[in-house]
């Protein structure tokens, strides 16, 4: 039953939050306290965060800037951005040696049209696969064929496909079928009725809630997920449990 006020009925762990200013766009949320307040407004307990500079500029600098957003309250989980460059891989290696890498996000794929192929990404993808670190990929930046053929070469790699839009209405079902270790992040996924169909076909374990704040408002997709007929158990998986499982033990602290 819908009401004029909304509060989630399960704990929520947001899989996709952007923080900080981009080089060409100011964030509406200036600092960590502001982000936590926004999360409180929408009753979101935890969030995976990455820095906005990763999208179009530098994953290395984005990761440095991200450290300013991390606190010890256990609500914000770092997501480090990566490119398949020596500098980026060295930075990731150092963070991993400190036990600080629970997920990685590919940066800037569409800026220079760098092919997502094993020959171009193998050092990163092999390392992630070997270390059991999940990878977030922004679907709008990907070539679908490259995505499938490359990820099929790393069958142990857990992935989260971010930002599928109605422009990808034809992509999503075949991608989910071809990539059994892929999860769909739902921040932009609005084709009418398709989420219910996908939930029926693949089960709730393949989906994670992400708001993609501050690109998008934090509340609407969470509201949507509460109105697609999910059982409380399945809703809890989509809103928190699947992400905890994907991130591994660091998310259980």
């Amino acid at each position: 039953m819908t009401s004029l006020s909304f509060k989630p009925r399960v704990p929520v762990f947001d899989a996709n939050v952007k923080v900080g200013d981009a080089h060409d766009e100011l964030s509406p949320c200036p600092d960590r306290a502001g982000l936590l307040a926004e999360m409180d407004t929408h009753n979101i307990q935890r969030a995976v965060i990455y820095h906005a500079l990763a999208d179009k500029t530098s994953p290395v600098d984005a990761n440095r800037a991200l450290k300013d957003w991390l606190g010890d309250e256990g609500r914000l989980y770092s997501q480090w951005a990566a490119l398949p460059t020596r500098r980026s891989l060295e930075q990731l290696g150092e963070l991993h040696a400190q036990g600080r890498v629970s997920s990685v996000r590919l940066a800037g794929l569409d800026i220079v049209k760098f092919p997502f192929r094993p020959w171009s990404y193998d050092p990163l993808l092999s390392w992630l696969s070997q270390e059991g670190i999940p990878l977030w990929l922004a679907l709008p930046e990907m070539d679908a064929h490259e995505l499938v053929s490359t990820l099929q070469a790393y069958p142990d790699l857990e992935t989260v496909l971010v930002g599928a839009h109605y422009m990808h209405a034809l992509w999503v079902q075949p991608l989910m079928k071809a990539l059994p270790r892929a999860h769909l992040e739902l921040s932009r996924f609005e084709p009418i009725g398709q989420l219910e169909d996908l939930l029926d076909e693949f089960g709730a374990s393949r989906f994670v809630f992400g708001s993609w704040y501050w690109r998008l408002a934090m509340g609407p997709m969470l509201f949507y997920l509460h109105h697609v007929g999910l059982s409380d158990d399945d809703l809890a998986l989509v809103c928190e449990g699947n992400l905890v499982r994907i991130l591994g033990e660091q998310a259980n602290d």
């Binding site: 819908t2 909304f6 998008l216």
Partner: protein
């Protein structure tokens, strides 16, 4: 119905765009409406420049569920002035469609150019409402509504998507503030933080209309934009249906 509010979705389509997952299946659309608490959706078909076939499709679609759907007419200045007016007369008088949808990006003329005037004159004479697609396309800048609205004071104008982008949204708000017959509609795939709050604060809750773009987009996330916005419940009630019921007289 949400807490006694009759929810009216001001922006929806008849006609399919399967390539982007848009399927105008009434059962699917009503399922999504029911799951969210949406009572009525306003629908139009923008894919036929003459309007004739599309308006027939809209009327037939509405006739299957007249308690859940309201039809708007569509015409395009790609056809002649006489043809547009004749089709509007048919759509309003015979098909009983209740308002007009216009889509400037489909034509080379900005929405304040004379090619559109026969439509505006018709709406003004009948006291009808027109919803334009407005946005960052040069033909669809909402600032042009401020040129049109004062010339046709008996017509009502709705800025679809409220301009979509920050710059165009500011234009839409300015047009609404300058003209009592301009209203702002909320659907947008961008779902930018703070937009609903901005529209209500800067134009007034009585000037904002909930819309979803169903079935291009599932109406539930767009409904969630209003429900999760940091505005009062009174403002939500106005945006979700009170304003639409008032200006459409339904």
């Amino acid at each position: 119905m949400i807490e006694g509010v009759r929810v009216i979705d001001f922006h929806g389509h008849v006609g399919s765009n399967d390539i982007m997952g848009m399927v105008d299946d009434p059962d699917l659309m009503i399922h999504a409406m029911d799951a969210g608490g949406i009572d009525v959706s306003c629908l139009f078909n923008i894919y036929y420049p003459s309007g004739t076939r599309g308006n027939d499709m809209t009327a037939q679609f509405v006739a299957r569920h007249p308690d859940r759907f309201v039809g708007f007419a569509y015409v395009s200045p790609l056809t002649s002035a006489d043809a547009m007016v004749a089709e509007l007369e048919r759509a309003i008088d015979t098909l009983k469609l209740v308002a007009i949808k216009l889509y400037p990006p489909f034509v080379p003329w900005s929405l304040d150019q004379p090619q559109w005037d026969p439509i505006y004159e018709f709406a003004d004479q009948r006291g009808l409402l027109i919803i334009h697609h407005t946005g960052s396309e040069p033909q669809a800048f909402p600032k042009y509504l401020a040129n049109v609205a004062p010339r046709y004071p008996r017509a009502k104008f709705v800025s679809g998507h409220s301009g979509n982008t920050p710059e165009c949204r500011a234009q839409a708000i300015a047009a609404a503030n300058a003209n009592p017959n301009v209203f702002l509609e909320t659907c947008s795939t961008f779902r930018t933080p703070g937009v609903i709050e901005q529209l209500v604060a800067e134009a007034g809750a009585d000037r904002v209309l909930f819309g979803s773009d169903t079935p291009l987009m599932d109406p539930r996330p767009q409904l969630g934009k209003i429900i999760t916005a940091q505005i009062s419940n009174e403002a939500k009630a106005q945006v979700l249906g009170g304003n639409a019921a008032r200006i459409l007289e339904i």
